[in-house]
């Protein structure tokens, strides 16, 4: 039910607030009613056909930096 892996927005129908995401290479119909201002190229988390959150690239980078720092210290 929950696609825990982020997916990229590839199509948007702004009138119906729906569109498609690319989930690991598969186009999946998605509803964007729960997010404001979704744009093509955004990375989103999709649950049961609805995008529930947008991925923040800076925050993702910070977490990855933290992981790398821990790995390098060990």
């Amino acid at each position: 039910m929950c696609l825990a892996i982020p997916s990229m927005v590839i199509e948007i129908d702004e009138v119906h607030r729906t569109g498609k995401i690319d989930y690991l290479g598969t186009k999946v119909k998605t509803n964007f009613a729960l997010l404001d201002d979704v744009r093509i190229g955004d990375w989103v988390i999709v649950h049961a056909g609805f995008a529930i959150s947008r991925l923040d690239e800076e925050d993702a980078q910070e977490t990855l930096d933290l992981l790398r720092e821990i790995a390098e210290k060990s």
Binding site: A4, N31, A33, S53, L55, D59, R68, A71
Partner: protein
């Protein structure tokens, strides 16, 4: 940007585990952490983190975070009755829901009345499409879920009302995550050191609804993502909170979870639904732990529309001990039915059915004798 591989990197995982083992040494044992979310349970077992963490002195236990599992048998039975006793009803639901065993069998094995059927859907939206396409059928969406799914169900009710669809209603089993955490802490049945809060429920509700856990119970917790690196970072945060004597709601999933959650989704939930006391399998009635449709949406509430009058008790079928698994007091492998009478092919309870169910996850990744 997905870059999931970096959160699974072997060197990173090894370093995180070494850090956990080192931090754990200075703390009194045991250290038992409840992963509240079934999808966390999956990551923990799929990547073999359970045994690696055990070596580091951390015990992971599953909690009530499987909506299919905690929905009481009586609600599943009401759904079965709808399709077996009424003609021309199409009951649409998520796949897992069709295999949950009850006193009346399961939806999958039920023999629908004339013109009725059970239809598996991936998204609530498919159920609404059915109502638009099949005006001669009564469409019931058996919608189950936590805060992650609830906003989408609110969208469906609003859309149905907007289009004045008269052949559509929702049999809802909508559960809120914070209230059972209070119930688990108050019961004191299982001695825990911290909670791993569900990442995607938190994407909707944000950090605030968990603050009572630290404030009232002095209990650590962390919002974590679903990659192995996310979970291990979360555990490091819990160990830090214990060591510093500073319990809080930490967020190690900032790339997806904002402190305030998703305000659009929260507003939709408030507009369409209101809290109710709800009965959970294994946990019984928990105040304010469920949601029901507000009066203005009652035309789309299956319980009202079809006068269902469900009295849930939340008790397992004879022999099944899912309730204890959901409370975190019984490991799946300690259930006498596990891997013997109860298997994925022939489940005796919902925890062996749902892909987020602790019993199925244990069976799948650790084997029938795990």
């Amino acid at each position: 940007m997905a870059r999931t591989n970096e959160f699974r990197d072997k060197k990173v995982i090894g370093a995180l585990l070494a850090r956990i083992a080192e931090n754990k040494r200075s703390l009194p044992s045991p250290c038992r952490i409840m992963e509240v979310c079934g999808t966390h349970t999956m990551t923990v077992h799929r990547y073999g983190l359970q045994s690696m963490l055990e070596k580091a002195g951390i015990e992971m236990v599953s909690g009530p975070g499987c909506p299919v599992c905690i929905t009481p048998g009586e609600v599943h039975e009401a759904a079965i009755r709808l399709v077996t006793e009424n003609e021309n009803v199409i009951l649409a639901t998520f796949g897992d829901m069709t295999r949950v065993p009850t006193h009346l069998g399961s939806l999958q094995n039920a023999v629908p009345a004339k013109g009725s059927a059970v239809k598996i859907v991936y998204s609530p939206e498919e159920s609404l499409d059915l109502a638009r396409q099949k005006s001669n059928k009564e469409i019931v969406f058996f919608g189950v879920g936590f805060e992650t799914t609830i906003p989408s169900i609110a969208v469906m009710a609003k859309a149905a009302a907007g289009e004045e669809l008269s052949n559509y209603s929702i049999l809802s089993a909508l559960w809120l995550i914070p209230p059972p955490l209070r119930a688990i802490l108050e019961s004191g049945e299982v001695k825990l050191s911290g909670f791993l809060y569900p990442g995607h429920v938190s994407a909707i509700i944000g950090q605030e609804p968990y603050t009572f856990v630290a404030r009232e119970f002095g209990f650590p917790g962390v919002i974590a993502g679903f990659e192995p690196g996310d979970i291990l970072l979360g555990i490091i945060s819990i160990l830090d909170q214990i060591r510093e004597g500073r319990p809080r709601v930490a967020n190690e999933y900032t790339r997806v979870v904002r402190p305030e959650g998703n305000p659009v989704a929260q507003a939709l939930m408030r507009e369409v639904l209101e809290p109710k006391d709800a009965c959970w399998r294994g946990l019984g009635v928990i105040p304010g732990s469920g949601l029901k449709f507000k009066a203005e949406y009652s035309a789309y509430d299956t319980e009202v529309k079809h006068d269902l009058r469900i009295t849930a008790r939340g008790i397992d079928l004879p022999g099944c001990r899912c309730g204890e698994v959901l409370r975190g007091i019984l490991l799946p492998s300690r259930c006498p039915l596990f891997g013997k009478k109860c298997t994925p092919e022939s489940p005796c309870g919902p925890c062996m059915v749902s892909f987020e169910g602790a019993c199925l996850v244990h069976y799948k990744y650790r084997g029938p004798k795990s």
